[in-house]
């Protein structure tokens, strides 16, 4: 079986090559697999996720997702529209919009059907226990609710791969457990692939596989 995410000898540096963040990373993740990327801050976890999604361009090497080589802008846009959902440490929702309006943004990007999108939104909101909060402005939601909202937004276009960068990092213990349970549930139930960047060993232990990053290498 071909791996869903395949990275071969990926290099990435910043500041005109002065700061090397990824140094020959090799990684293969199968479809439906849940992988934790652990490591200290600055070891390159977020950069690796960005390179998988195409938000960052690698300097050299090879990255492919769902059989698509991440080589140019149109492939990146296509991946982000159809194949990849992204959840960050901070929710990055628009504070003055309602949760529903925020969740509709990915649908606008793909030009999806409104009714279908609203149904899906409702379904995800029910799964995350947020159906009663959909029409609240983000600024009126608690931290845990916002992160659950970000999770709904990332799943709106039904991506096969979910990239999560410290998704519970900004939450208290109670909410961290709740959101992570929900995340695993939504991923497992639908056979999605999850790559999770975290420095929390407890969360990593609940994944299928844990990879440790150090100095830009796995």
């Amino acid at each position: 079986m071909n791996p869903f995410v395949k990275i071969h000898d990926a290099w990435k540096s910043f500041d005109q090559g002065r700061v090397e963040v990824l140094r020959g990373v090799n990684l293969e993740v199968n479809e439906g697999e849940i992988v934790a990327l652990c490591g200290a801050s600055g070891c390159g976890k977020s950069t690796l996720l960005n390179c998988i999604s195409g938000l960052e361009e690698i300097d050299r090497g090879h990255v492919s997702v769902s059989g698509h080589d991440v080589v140019n802008e149109s492939v990146r846009v296509n991946l982000l529209r159809k194949h990849i959902g992204y959840v960050f440490q901070f929710h990055h929702l628009m504070q003055d919009l309602t949760l529903a309006e925020n969740c509709y943004v990915p649908v606008i990007a793909v030009g999806g059907a409104r009714q279908e999108a609203l149904e899906r939104m409702q379904e995800l909101a029910e799964a995350t226990g947020m159906s009663h909060r959909l029409h609240q402005r983000v600024r009126e939601l608690s931290g845990g609710e916002r992160q659950r909202g970000a999770l709904i937004r990332s799943l709106m276009n039904d991506p096969k791969l979910l990239l999560c960068d410290e998704p519970t990092g900004a939450l208290d213990e109670k909410n961290r457990e709740k959101v992570f349970d929900l995340l695993l549930d939504l991923v497992r139930k639908n056979g999605r692939t999850l790559i999770l960047a975290t420095h929390d060993p407890e969360l990593a232990a609940r994944c299928d596989r844990t990879l440790r990053m150090r100095d830009g290498r796995i």
Partner: protein, 365 residues
């Protein structure tokens, strides 16, 4: 997204739209007022005629000297139905330094068109001392029928008061041509000869005849005259330049609004990219926002200019002097400029937003 974004930043949107609205309103108002003034002046010259004859290469019709005898010569031509001399002058009255004066013959159609409030047209004699005042002129000169008033160096009796539709005429003094020539030491000459063509004849015949017989004079059709008369040209150019400057300011306002809008939501734009927006979609969104701001500005500016022009019409002292009107050409011109301004104003912000590196933007503090 476009409307949502604009709604979320109402103040910013309003400032941008106000900038465009003021530009549109200024342009439409200035163009409307000056265009109206030009039209009114054209009508003074026209007065039931199709052509106007004046001295070649004069900068202003007040300096034009055309022999009065030309009217008789033209009247004897088969292609002319009627030719009439008119002398334009500016005369001073006590406490009123500028009063427009029309030296006309008794058969001139102008006085027939007016509504005679006092006196009658038969009291207006060819070589008499009686003058006819426009209603507003009678008002500001504080003159009544039969009064003797002082104008320039002379004393004249008021033979009639007429209400004229045209403000310049309504605020003017009509003198018998001979009396006017004497008052301004222009015996034997007039400013223009207006020419009404005989049926079935064309302006080219008059032009040809003038070229052959009076090379120092020029005959133009009314529209040609309007397009070539330097005073009109200056007025029209002034209107568009003033309007253009207003637009420049409006454009800067839109640019500023859009730059602030982009810089103020760098993370949001990055998230939009993460959600699958392409660079093109981001650029289109910024251009779209700018165009919607512009559309609001155009509509508001148009309404504002209608208000300004309506207010001007309502001012009694301006009634008849300005005939503010906004034509489709002006509206189309102002709208096109507003749209162009919006597009140019959004160019840099759209480019900046589209080239944004989403990963770097998400780290942006």
């Amino acid at each position: 997204m476009i409307f949502t974004n604009l709604r979320r930043h109402r103040v910013r949107t309003a400032i941008g739209a106000i900038g465009i609205a003021l530009g549109v309103a200024t342009m439409l108002s200035v163009v409307g007022i000056l265009g109206g003034a030009v039209k009114m002046f054209e009508r003074i010259l026209r007065s039931d005629s199709e052509m106007v004859v004046f001295e070649r290469n004069v900068s202003d019709l007040f300096f034009s000297n055309v022999p009065v005898g030309l009217a008789d010569e033209l009247n004897s031509q088969k292609f002319v139905r009627e030719a009439k001399p008119v002398l334009f002058a500016i005369i001073a009255a006590p406490e009123r330094p500028v009063v427009t004066c029309f030296g006309i013959t008794t058969t001139d159609g102008r006085l027939k068109k007016g509504e005679w409030l006092f006196g009658k047209i038969s009291d207006f004699h060819e070589n008499g001392n009686g003058i006819v005042l426009g209603e507003r002129a009678a008002d500001f000169l504080n003159a009544a029928l039969g009064d003797t008033i002082e104008l320039g160096q002379g004393q004249y009796s008021v033979a009639g008061i007429v209400r004229m539709e045209n403000g310049f005429e309504n605020g003017g003094v009509f003198m018998p041509l001979l009396t006017c020539q004497k008052a301004f030491h222009k015996e034997g000459v007039c400013s223009v000869v207006t020419v009404a063509l005989a049926e079935g004849h064309e302006a080219a015949e008059v032009k040809h005849w003038m070229r052959t017989n009076h090379q120092g004079l020029t005959a133009l059709e009314n529209e040609e005259f309007s397009n070539s008369y330097s005073q009109f040209k200056i007025m029209k150019i002034t209107a568009w330049v003033v309007g253009g400057c207003a637009f420049l300011l409006g454009g800067l306002s839109v640019t500023n609004t859009m730059i602030l809008s982009v810089f103020g939501r760098i993370r949001e734009l990055a998230i939009a990219r993460v959600c699958g927006f392409s660079r093109g979609q981001i650029a289109r969104m910024i251009f779209g926002e700018s165009l919607v701001i512009s559309a609001i500005g155009i509509l508001s500016g148009w309404l504002l200019s209608m208000g300004v022009l309506a207010a001007l019409r309502a001012i009694p002292t301006l009634q008849g002097y300005v005939e503010p009107s906004i034509g489709l050409t002006e509206l189309f011109g102002a709208s096109s400029l507003a749209i162009l301004t919006a597009l140019i104003g959004a160019l840099y912000p759209a480019w900046y937003a589209a080239k944004l590196n989403p990963a770097a933007a998400l780290r942006f503090e």
